[in-house]
């Protein structure tokens, strides 16, 4: 089960520059890949291209290849892509259908579109509510939820299509700390229990620190750094690419700069911060 981009280059219709330039990327089952980079670097484009929605839904030209389990995304219709690769954006309310009276019906939206039998639809809804721990929200009005709750509902709605891959474009950027925590925990559970492969674009590097196995840095449509999370986030050139390192790295740099960077002291502090 692999999502692979090979030399993927993408230009939006009517644009003058490539938004993505020769990107090579691989996402496999049960792993979490973090994506960081400055604004307008092409991270959102990467999400759309990886999920196949670009160029299938969002007009543009793709060179190179994007395959899901060997099959080109350009050969698939949007609803086939949706069942393989789910995608979540920043603004929860823009992703909810706005036509459901309860969270239950909101999550039912996707499976119903596919024409699944009613019992299958109900099963899937129950499974998603369970997986994200939001069964208590099932009878609530989606328009009246907090940001974090709404984002979880949007995530559940995507998961109801049972995709193997999950792509998240800054899912916590419009959430408060509690909402961020809710979403982070839910994602961790997904990876552990369902072996979902996750690609998550985030500015909150502390979140990636805890969640991601590997991290790539995207700048000007290209991947400029790639590797295990700890290595990439510790890399001192990170700020040059408009990425703020996680607190533990910043604290350690500050201590080192102040001449207090003894291994014992920093280890103690990092252990404190991690708990």
């Amino acid at each position: 089960m692999t999502l692979r981009l090979s030399a993927a280059t993408y230009r939006y219709a009517g644009a003058r520059r490539n938004a993505l330039d020769g990107v090579d990327l691989e996402l496999s089952a049960g792993t979490v890949l973090g994506v960081v980079g400055p604004n307008e670097a092409g991270k959102s484009t990467l999400c759309l291209v990886a999920s196949g929605l670009a160029p299938v839904v969002v007009a543009g030209r793709l060179s190179g290849s994007v395959t899901i389990d060997g099959r080109e995304t350009t050969d698939m219709r949007p609803h086939e892509l949706a069942q393989r690769c789910g995608i979540l954006f920043q603004n929860p309310q823009a992703q909810l259908s706005g036509t459901a009276a309860t969270v239950f019906e909101e999550i039912a939206f996707g499976p119903r579109n596919l024409g699944l039998s009613l019992s299958t639809v109900i099963q899937r809804i129950a499974a998603c509510l369970e997986a994200l721990g939001i069964a208590a929200l099932a009878d609530r009005d989606p328009a009246r939820l907090s940001g974090g709750q709404a984002q979880l509902v949007a995530l559940a709605a995507i998961l109801a299509l049972e995709p193997d891959f999950l792509i998240l474009d800054e899912p916590t950027s419009q959430l408060d700390p509690q909402g961020t925590r809710l979403v982070g925990e839910a994602l961790r559970r997904l990876v552990g229990e369902r072996r979902t492969a996750i690609l998550v674009v985030e500015h909150k590097t502390a979140l990636l620190d805890r969640l991601a196995d590997r991290v790539v840095v995207v700048d000007e449509g290209r991947i400029v750094r790639e590797g295990p999370t700890a290595d990439v986030l510790d890399d001192p050139m990170l700020p040059r690419h408009g990425v703020e390192p996680p607190p533990r790295v910043r604290v350690r740099s500050a201590l080192t700069a102040a001449g207090m960077g003894t291994p014992a002291a920093t280890d103690l502090l990092m252990a404190e911060l991690a708990s």
Partner: protein, 273 residues
């Protein structure tokens, strides 16, 4: 059939409810909060027509009126039966969209001055049939009272200057075509609304322009003519203003965004960027 389903891509299906909500909320706000004698409840309809074609535009107009009639909290009133008019407005907007009426046409120098002047002349010329037509000046047949003539002339001159200035200052010939589209749409709307108002509402519309209806009747016009006379006065003004508002809005949207709509290509062909 493929042409029809292209008009209703998912993107258009997303745009239409947004346009309907814009129609209703703007129309409601202008009517009740700003209390202006114009409607501005067709901006969404015309926008959809220009971007997605005649059927989509007509559907937007019709649904806007029906939903507004039915909607909880702000519903009610008498807007429902005029869904037919709204459908016509949306349909025409789709035609203008196909013809590329709202496309920017940068121009300079003599061509620019020529179009500005011709536009001004045409606007003023619109009033001439009212002034010259014996049916309107013969007191026995009935027609507009004096104050309407003065008002018509004043409005025509102001509109002529405004349209000419718009074309000249923006260095864009599109204003010329947008004005024509607006007036034609307004005239069509008047002709479609008159029988609806006459049959369903005793010849009035419930807005301030009913003073005009009263004045026309006092001059001797029958119910239908009075309705039509009122419509021909207010609708072209309202729809032309709305058309220019839509034109300005379209100008502010990025070419990338527009190109994704079925008729978006026709809007961006000659754009500088």
């Amino acid at each position: 059939m493929a042409w029809l389903s292209r008009q209703f891509s998912t993107r258009v299906i997303v745009l239409i409810p947004i346009a309907i909500a814009i129609n209703i909320v703007l129309g409601y706000t202008v009517q009740t909060i700003l209390k202006l004698p114009i409607y501005l409840d067709s901006i969404g309809t015309i926008l959809v027509g220009v971007l997605a074609g005649p059927i989509a535009g007509a559907l937007t107009g019709i649904l806007s009126n029906l939903i507004w009639q039915y909607a909880p909290v702000i519903g009610g009133g008498t807007i429902g039966p005029f869904a037919i008019t709204a459908g016509v407005i949306g349909f025409l907007a789709g035609i203008w969209g196909q013809l590329g009426v709202y496309r920017s046409r940068p121009a300079t120098g003599r061509q620019l001055i020529l179009f500005s002047v011709v536009a001004a002349v045409l606007v003023v010329a619109l009033v001439v049939p009212i002034l010259g037509n014996p049916a309107y000046t013969n007191p026995d047949i009935g027609g507009y009272p004096d104050w309407v003539y003065t008002a018509a002339v004043v409005i025509a001159i102001v509109a002529a200057v405004a349209v000419a200035a718009f074309i000249y200052l923006r260095r864009d010939l599109a204003g010329f075509w947008v004005a024509i589209a607006g007036v034609v749409t307004g005239v069509a709307a008047a002709f479609v609304s008159a029988p609806i108002a006459a049959i369903a509402f005793g010849g009035v519309t419930g807005s301030g322009t009913d003073l005009l209806v009263a004045a026309l009747r006092q001059g001797g016009s029958d119910v239908m003519s009075a309705s039509l006379g009122q419509g021909l006065f207010s609708d072209p003004i309202d729809k032309t203003i709305t058309s220019f508002v839509v034109f300005i809005i379209l100008g502010g949207l990025s070419g990338r965004l527009l190109a994704r709509f079925p008729l978006g290509e026709r809007l961006v062909r000659d754009r500088a960027a």
